[in-house]
């Protein structure tokens, strides 16, 4: 009887858990995407998270819990902070996104002055679909909902927050990468910066997909190495449209990514020659040595992206 009760329960549990994450959410099957319900998340207000009390609580949580835990699980190297040390907000950070580690790494590494007034754009349909999840996300990350599709997109809170002097962290790809490589970023952040005339700081995170890819709820063991690289702020130029700024953002992100393979100067040279594109994964092998990116869905893309960054050795840095 006991075996029937528990054995059957475990079988059922296993069946229910299949294709769901730890929070019990299943990804919408592709053929059902067009039929997804357009949940309105504006019912959940986030203004409370920017009150002095919530800010104080967040400061404790971010510096006392979030950063120590993140830094204990991965081995981050932070680069390019000198570009933003003297930057005055509000500012929009735009980063590639392939892991749940991305936001904690940026929050943990950005200068305190900017962090204390940093709000993070979070997918409304993912982080704000349940009240308890929305409360936790909002409190810890000062998150605000971003509608990824549907007519509610125009009613974003982002311009209002910039107007109130908050810095924003946005992930212009709209979702975490499926395979560790970058998808085409959306125009939204550039529009926002041009509209509000605020600088944009490109950020590249490398190794976070290998350290904690989609479907994992905790980083891989072994404190994998990750890199957070800040680029030079991009100020909207006079008469520059959103597309122009977006283009500069793409170039900057491509160059920041390539620094690991080409070095800083090499990446600048490659950029000058117009050889850089967004990191799109391993190339097809062709007879003439040219070749395009391996198509999406190929195992080679995830395989390459999930390769941990090599461990840093004492000899790898010239000035050590």
């Amino acid at each position: 009887m006991k075996r029937r009760l528990f054995g059957g329960f475990l079988d059922d549990l296993r069946m229910v858990r299949q294709s769901r994450d730890v929070q019990g959410r299943a990804r919408t099957p592709r053929s059902a995407l067009v039929h997804e319900s357009q949940k309105r998340s504006d019912g959940f207000g986030t203004a409370w998270a920017r009150t002095p009390t919530a800010r104080a609580a967040r400061r404790v949580l971010q510096t006392g819990v979030l950063k120590p835990v993140t830094w204990s699980q991965v081995s981050p190297r932070i680069e390019g902070l000198d570009h933003i040390e003297h930057l005055r907000g509000p500012v929009v950070f735009v980063a590639n996104h392939s892991s749940h580690l991305d936001a904690p790494l940026i929050i943990g590494s950005v200068p305190t002055r900017l962090r204390q007034r940093l709000a993070v754009g979070a997918a409304a349909d993912y982080f704000f679909d349940a009240r308890w999840r929305a409360i936790i996300t909002t409190l810890i990350f000062n998150a605000f909902p971003i509608e990824r599709r549907g007519s509610d997109r125009r009613r974003s809170l982002a311009p209002q927050l910039l107007g109130q002097g908050w810095n924003l962290l946005l992930f212009p790809e709209g979702t975490r990468s499926e395979d560790g490589w970058m998808a085409q970023p959306r125009l939204g952040p550039a529009h926002l910066c041009v509209q509000r005339q605020v600088p944009m700081v490109p950020v590249i995170l490398r190794g976070t997909y290998a350290a904690m890819p989609r479907a994992r709820n905790w980083p891989m063991p072994g404190r994998q190495r990750v890199i957070v690289r800040y680029g030079r702020p991009l100020f909207p130029e006079e008469n520059e449209g959103a597309r122009g700024l977006h283009q500069r953002m793409v170039q900057a992100m491509s160059r920041l990514w390539a620094e690991d393979e080409l070095g800083w100067y090499g990446s600048l040279r490659a950029q000058a020659k117009g050889e850089l594109t967004l990191p799109s994964g391993p190339k097809q092998i062709t007879a003439d040595g040219s070749g395009s990116a391996v198509p999406s869905g190929s195992w080679r893309r995830s395989w390459e992206a999930s390769r941990p960054l090599p461990k840093e050795t004492k000899h790898s840095r010239v000035w050590d």
Binding site: G8, M15, V16, R20, A26, S31, A32, D129
Partner: protein, 525 residues
């Protein structure tokens, strides 16, 4: 805003999908690439149902307002659908009660004294007093039962009257009281496109003599499907009979439709798409499934049958039957229709605990057959979801159990007739008259709560089109001996069933799972 129905293609993201299997359900992982037909989401019901009923009675189609048809000294007969509709039964107050109460308010105001209420149960079992009370409500029941609130008796020769013959020679014989009334008000719930309209009076109040013209193997094999009236020989027969009735009796039809909200809030996961289940739904699934398995079978059945659906009413239309019914059908299809691109090699259905003939009763093997190969297989327009020669896989335990009070002739049919043949034509030819005229069955039908003696044969005919169309029928989890008696096969798991089906349809079959209930009607292009 309710989302439309759609066809899901199972991919690696798709979680395990819910399958009903009698008084239970399970999750099943379907092979990648399988298609799953989902009905449209439940449409919003009326906020004020009583106001909609009032509006329908005051502004009927093709008839003057009901109050103008009522007068002192008239004979008024109110007929209502029996307990076979809707499924599961509706939370009280039943919409039939709401309608009947308003009709009676108008009749009382007009000074009508001679009022009879009749359940249109045809050859179904009589409704018990408790079931009648639940359907029409306490006030109506108290005022009319037992003398003027009755079940129709299709074997009470003295109270049947022959209206005439159709051009095709079909006898139309209905309840005498209704036929001789100045006005018949028919109160209907149309759950699927098969019900309502011309079927209401011509079937609900008919006798075996009249029913046998459309409830036969030939007609059902030419009803493709019987849920698609323009292509249903059965409905063509109903139409001919209804036309004859229209010339001879005055019918005021009130039709209602319901949405797809079949399960109460605590079982909400049964109404939702599986990938949209939240933690609460998953916990509810685990808890309900486990508790369901631990409960003794008899208690489990009681619990399931106690489920009353929180339906919303999506339409109320009144007037001349021929004008009312097309509107009702549109409303039904708006709630149920899903377009499907072509048939597949294998169709899968999960059969639930209830069908029209086991409300507060047991779903015996014949009813399982009629639900699967009759009702669910025929939930299509244009062509079945399975290609000719394809395989149907059903989920049901198919236990060899019968309710001896409700289904006495079913037991004999299963033990004696099916032991000899499962061929519908042979059954019809050799056994129909014997079962239809057996005095003991007739006695039980009239005086106990038994379905008519011929009813199990009708249930078998109900699946005649599917039996002719399909190459094989497999029941996952079905009792081996019981399914074999009916000429089907059983498998212990979906994998086994698919393996067996491959013998018939080849090694890489296409698969379609018809995700129902709630009812999804496949429009197969």
């Amino acid at each position: 805003m309710s989302r439309p129905g759609f066809v899901l293609e199972v991919d690696e993201r798709t979680p395990a999908l819910l399958m009903h299997e009698g008084e239970g359900f399970r999750l099943e992982k379907l092979p990648l690439g399988s298609r799953v037909i989902y009905p449209p989401e439940s449409l919003p019901g009326f906020r004020d149902v009583d106001a909609e009923i009032r509006r329908a009675l005051d502004a009927p189609l093709g008839r003057p307002p009901l109050r103008e048809l009522l007068f002192a000294g008239m004979r008024l007969t109110i007929v209502f659908d029996d307990l076979s509709l809707p499924l599961p039964p509706m939370q009280t107050p039943d919409v039939r009660q709401r309608v009947i109460e308003q009709v009676l308010e108008l009749a009382a105001a007009a000074g009508v004294d001679d009022v009879e209420l009749i359940a249109g149960n045809s050859l179904h079992r009589r409704m018990t007093p408790a079931e009648l009370k639940r359907t029409v409500g306490e006030r109506v029941y108290r005022s009319f039962f037992p003398d003027h609130l009755k079940n129709h008796d299709a074997e009470d020769k003295a109270n049947l009257t022959e209206i005439g013959h159709t051009k095709h020679g079909e006898v139309v014989e209905i309840n005498r009281r209704a036929a001789e009334s100045d006005l018949i008000v028919y109160v209907n719930i149309t759950l699927t496109a098969m019900s309502g309209g011309p079927k209401s009076v011509s079937v609900g109040l008919a006798s075996y003599r009249s029913l046998k013209h459309h409830h036969n193997v030939h007609t059902l094999r030419h009803s493709k499907s019987f849920n698609d009236p323009p292509n249903s020989a059965m409905h063509h027969s109903y139409n001919r009979m209804a036309a004859l009735l229209a010339e001879n009796v005055n019918i005021f039809q009130i039709e209602t439709t319901v949405n797809n909200s079949l399960f109460p809030k605590q079982m909400d996961f049964l109404n939702k798409r599986e990938w949209e289940w939240n933690l609460k739904d998953q916990a509810a699934f685990l808890a309900v499934r486990r508790a369901n398995e631990l409960v003794p079978p008899a208690r489990r059945r009681q619990i399931w049958h106690r489920n009353a659906a929180p339906y919303g009413i999506t339409s109320v239309t009144a007037g001349a039957p021929e004008e009312v019914h097309p509107i009702t059908l549109r409303s039904v299809l708006r709630q149920q229709l899903t377009e499907v691109n072509g048939p597949s090699d294998i169709g899968i259905w999960g059969l639930p605990y209830i069908c029209p003939y086991n409300v507060n009763s047991i779903m015996n093997p014949i009813l399982v057959m009629s639900l699967g190969l009759g009702y669910f297989f025929n939930l299509y327009r244009n062509q079945p979801i399975v290609r000719p020669g394809g395989v149907a896989i059903f989920y049901h335990p198919v236990r060899n159990e019968f309710q001896s009070v409700h289904h006495p002739s079913y037991i004999d049919f299963f033990e004696e007739v099916l032991a000899e043949t499962t061929d519908p034509v042979a059954i019809e030819t050799k056994f129909e008259e014997q079962f239809a005229t057996d005095p003991w069955y007739i006695h039980l039908y009239r005086n106990s709560y038994a379905y008519h003696g011929v009813h199990p044969l009708y249930m078998w005919y109900w699946g005649a089109h599917a039996l002719e169309h399909l190459g094989d029928v497999i029941f996952v989890g079905g009792d081996r001996k019981t399914t074999a008696r009916m000429g089907f096969r059983s498998a212990s798991s979906l994998e086994d069933a698919l393996e067996m089906a491959r013998e018939r349809v080849g090694s890489s079959p296409t698969i379609t799972y018809h995700h129902t209930p709630p009812v999804a009607m496949a429009d197969v292009r």
